[in-house]
């Protein structure tokens, strides 16, 4: 049985490599063609590509800033202020939406008829209406309908409500920030509630019965037995919801909250640098999303069953 080597073109692996190479070349070519096309169009319009504008004076004001910011600062500084504002709402939003979502998800399975149905109505309303509409609702129907500054409403002196925002233990939240935060929280939490419900229901009935036979209270069974197992199912889709929340925060522009997208679009309007600014925004949101994904993958790794 002398086995002569088959010719190269009959080799399966050879073709696999060729196909992949061709796909890569094609992808690169498409990018190059688009780049050349862009370059040519910009040339025709007499626009120079470049990021030098970032060092110019921004000369517009930003309503909410954590970093100190003056209109005399550069566009870079303005964008940084916007970035911090985006992060602020995204991080607070992810934190709150997790709490609200898990609560609503567990409530959906409650033995109490009222609790179960309140949760159902909440989920169905918030999941099935557009987020932009909800933001306008929160803004005009809730926050701007609060009493004006002279007649603030107050709960035990701890929280004060007025048209100028919420004052909580000395911290002041503007109506725009509060609108965006609550809008994103309740919208995303309605999806998370369904994910949590699905996750809990995926745990076998025997687990509940085993817990009961050990004499555990229902709340303890949920916390110690069911939820840890449900997390395996919950965490992967939860990641997408966090990503959605972070990306949806760009709707801030509709209700006047100065997030990164808002500041960037003012920048692009003033400088006319559409392509550069869009590239910056895309890069920012991509970085956001990749970081969230990375952290959630770490979490996912810890909740999965460890094979021994």
């Amino acid at each position: 049985m002398t086995h002569s080597k088959p010719p190269l073109w009959r080799d399966h692996r050879f073709w696999q490599i060729i196909v992949q190479l061709a796909a890569v070349i094609c992808a690169i070519l498409i990018v190059v063609i688009l780049g050349l096309n862009l370059n040519r169009n910009l040339q025709q319009l007499g626009i120079k590509f470049g990021f030098n504008f970032l060092q110019q004076e921004a000369s517009f004001d930003i309503g909410e800033t954590i970093l100190s910011y003056q209109p005399t600062d550069t566009y870079t500084r303005a964008l940084l202020v916007g970035l911090i504002n985006s992060l602020r709402v995204a991080i607070a939003g992810i934190f709150l939406t997790t709490i609200v979502g898990i609560t609503a998800g567990i409530a959906r399975l409650s033995d109490n008829w009222l609790v179960r149905n309140i949760s159902l109505v909440y989920v169905e309303i918030f999941r099935n209406t557009p987020l932009l509409l909800q933001l306008f609702f929160w803004y005009f129907a809730v926050f701007l309908s609060l009493p004006n500054v002279e007649h603030k409403a107050s709960v035990l002196g701890l929280i004060k409500f007025s048209q100028n925002g919420i004052e909580l233990l000395g911290l002041n939240f503007s109506p725009e920030f509060s609108t965006l935060l609550l809008g994103l929280t309740f919208y995303t939490a309605s999806f998370i509630a369904e994910i949590v419900r699905g996750g809990i229901q995926s745990v076998a009935k025997g687990q509940w019965e085993a817990g009961r036979s050990l004499g555990l209270k229902p709340s303890l069974i949920m916390r110690l037995v069911v939820l840890p197992q449900a997390l395996r199912v919950i965490v992967p889709p939860l990641t997408s919801q966090y990503l959605n929340l972070a990306k949806n925060s760009s709707l801030a522009i509709a209700i006047g909250y100065p997030d990164i997208y808002f500041v960037a679009s003012t920048t692009f309007n003033q400088t006319g640098k559409a392509v550069e600014v869009m590239l910056l925004i895309m890069l920012t949101y991509l970085t956001f999303s990749l970081i969230i994904s990375f952290l959630m993958n770490l979490l996912n790794h810890t909740v999965q069953i460890q094979e021994k």
Binding site: L45, P71, P258
Partner: protein, 361 residues
């Protein structure tokens, strides 16, 4: 079996390679020539007038939400001074003031849309400033309305001047010169304030009207115009203080001087007609006038239209269909309109205003 899968795998590959080659060839050529011959001035290739004529209508970018400037009425028709500029251009190109497609644009997107050629002309209460003219590559036609930025407040707020706005919320629209002027003025006065900035003009005014802001800033004409749409217009006052001067002018994409010239001289025609006392009512009487200036202007003598690529009676056509500047002003902003704005700076230079047309000869 294996052979057939192999062929299936190869077929799209060959197809793809072929597609790549032909695509890259096609695109390589024009870019090469572009970089070699067209160098920095690849501009005379724009032929806006021909494109518009081929298309059969003018595409005009307007606001659509500012009564007096451009507003879509309940009858489905646009009206306003910005709209009439576009109609006047449609008249000289097509002999038809309705050969215009209006596109509503917000303040932010307007320049990009013009740069990319989605619209032929931007006639949208746009302030003529150096950076827009130079860095954003626009060309401006003559000013059609001299405006200034003002501040509106509620009557019962006790605010009398800009200094009183310390620590108060001021509503403003993004993408406007108003946003920057406000920042400049307050910096000059060293007054700290809370800007509440929106992209949409309706939301900006709604938020002010709900009481979130103590003041709202915009061009004075816009404040007067939008005040009419507030729930209780009489409860709002516009302060006398002016934050800036805002010359509003139509803009076109830079680089097609034939098109820029045409738009420029259409605007001058409106002003010149008022100066000469010719309007849509008395136009017929002027056809027998013997003044050579008027004969040249109306095209009964000479060939002024030719240079612009128009018929010689283009001015007469504009006046007949749209009227002169005074008529347009009175109809949209002045005494025959709801706004009833005094003409002030927007009078002819002969009457102490700023409107002036170079000679038609």
């Amino acid at each position: 079996m294996r052979k057939s899968t192999l062929i299936l795998a190869i077929a799209p590959l060959i197809f793809m390679l072929g597609a790549c080659n032909s695509e890259s060839d096609k695109t390589r050529d024009p870019t090469n020539t572009a970089s070699n011959t067209e160098a920095p001035v690849a501009r005379n290739t724009l032929n806006t007038v021909n494109n518009i004529k081929k298309r059969g209508k003018l595409i005009c970018g307007v606001s659509g939400e500012l009564p007096g400037f451009s507003f879509l009425g309940t009858d489905g028709k646009y009206s306003g001074i910005d709209v009439d500029i576009c109609r006047a251009i449609a008249v000289v190109l097509f002999d038809n003031p309705d050969a215009v497609e209006f596109r509503n644009l917000n303040a932010k997107e307007r320049f990009t849309v013009l740069q990319t050629g989605e619209i032929d002309i931007l006639s949208r209460n746009t302030t003529w400033i150096l950076s827009r003219d130079a860095s954003i590559s626009l060309d401006f036609a003559p000013v059609i309305f001299y405006d200034g930025q003002g501040i509106m407040i509620r009557k019962n707020s006790g605010i009398k001047s800009l200094e009183d706005l310390k620590g108060k919320g001021i509503c403003v629209q993004t993408g406007t010169t108003n946003e920057q002027n406000l920042a400049d003025q307050m910096r000059k006065l060293n007054v700290s304030y809370k800007p509440v900035v929106f992209e949409d003009v309706n939301i900006t005014f709604a938020t002010y009207s709900e009481g979130r802001c103590d003041a709202i800033t915009a061009d004075r004409s816009a404040l007067v115009s939008r005040r009419t749409t507030l729930p209780k217009p009489e409860d709002n006052v516009i302060l006398d203080e002016l934050l800036s001067s805002e010359p509003l002018a139509p803009a076109v994409k830079q680089g097609d001087s034939q098109w820029t010239d045409l738009v420029t001289w259409v605007v001058y025609t409106l002003i010149k007609a008022e100066e000469l006392g010719i309007n849509s009512q008395n136009l017929a009487k002027f056809s027998t006038n013997t003044d050579p200036n008027i004969k040249r202007f109306l095209g009964t003598e000479g060939n002024l239209g030719e240079g612009l690529g128009l018929s010689n009676d283009f001015a007469a056509k504009i006046i007949k269909n749209v009227g002169n500047y005074g008529e347009i002003y009175d109809r949209n902003l002045g005494k025959n309109s709801q706004l009833n704005l005094a003409r002030n700076q927007n009078r002819l230079w002969t009457q102490g205003g700023l409107l002036y047309s170079p000679p038609f000869r």
